[in-house]
Subunit: 113 residues, 2 copies
C-alpha cells in the first residue's frame, strides 16, 4: 500500500463506507431483527431488550437515512409504525454472514488454541 496508489485509497474508502453504516453497538442487531420480517418499535425492543428507547429511535432514524430500512406509519387506533428492510438492507445479510463466519473462525483460533 502506497498513499500514491489511488486504487488502494479507493478500496479503503469503500471499506470505511461499509464500516460507517454497520458500526456502533446496535445497528447489526436491529438489521438482524428486521431480517426476520417487518416489525414495530416495541417488537424490535423486545428482540433487543438492552437497548434504550432513545438509542433504538436514534439508530432506526440513521438506518432510514441510509435507506437500509423503511418506516411506515399506520393511522390505526393506537398509532403504529412498521419498520422493514429495503432491498439494500437485505443485501447486508451476505456481509453479516461473512462477519459471523470470520468471527467464529477468529474465536476458534484465539480462544480455542
Amino acid at each position: 500500500m502506497k498513499s500514491t496508489q489511488p486504487a488502494c485509497q479507493y478500496e479503503l474508502k469503500a471499506a470505511r463506507d461499509a464500516m460507517d453504516v454497520i458500526q456502533g453497538k446496535w445497528r447489526i442487531p436491529i438489521v438482524i431483527s428486521l431480517s426476520y420480517g417487518t416489525k414495530r418499535f416495541g417488537e424490535i425492543h423486545r428482540d433487543i431488550p438492552d437497548i434504550s428507547p432513545k438509542m433504538l429511535s436514534q439508530e432506526l432514524k440513521a438506518l432510514e437515512e441510509n435507506k437500509l430500512i423503511t418506516r411506515t406509519l399506520h393511522d390505526s387506533m393506537p398509532v403504529t409504525v412498521e419498520y422493514a428492510l429495503t432491498p439494500l438492507g437485505m443485501s447486508l445479510r451476505e456481509l453479516l454472514n461473512e462477519l459471523r463466519n470470520w468471527g467464529k473462525h477468529f474465536r476458534e483460533e484465539i480462544v480455542g488454541k
Copy 2:
C-alpha cells in the same frame, strides 16, 4: 429474532467479535498495508501518513494481542522491528473484500441515485 433463540444470539456474538477486531479508524488500513508484505514501523507510517505514532503503536499492539500480526525485533545496528500478517490476519482479506464490495454497492445505491 427472539432473545429466546440461542442460535440468533450466537450469530450476533460472532458478528460482534469480528467487529471488535476490525473496528476503529486505523485497524483496516494497517491490515491492508501489511497485506502488501512485511513492513517496519516507519514504512507503515509512510503508508498511512495521517496516523500518529501513538495510535500506530497502540493499534499494532492490539492487533498483535489478537494474533493478527507478528512483531519481530531485529538486533541490527539501528534496532529495527518488523511487522507481518499471521495466517489469521491474512484470512481477514476475504472479509475486507466483502466490506469493500458492499461499500461500493452502498455508495452506488445512495450517492448514485
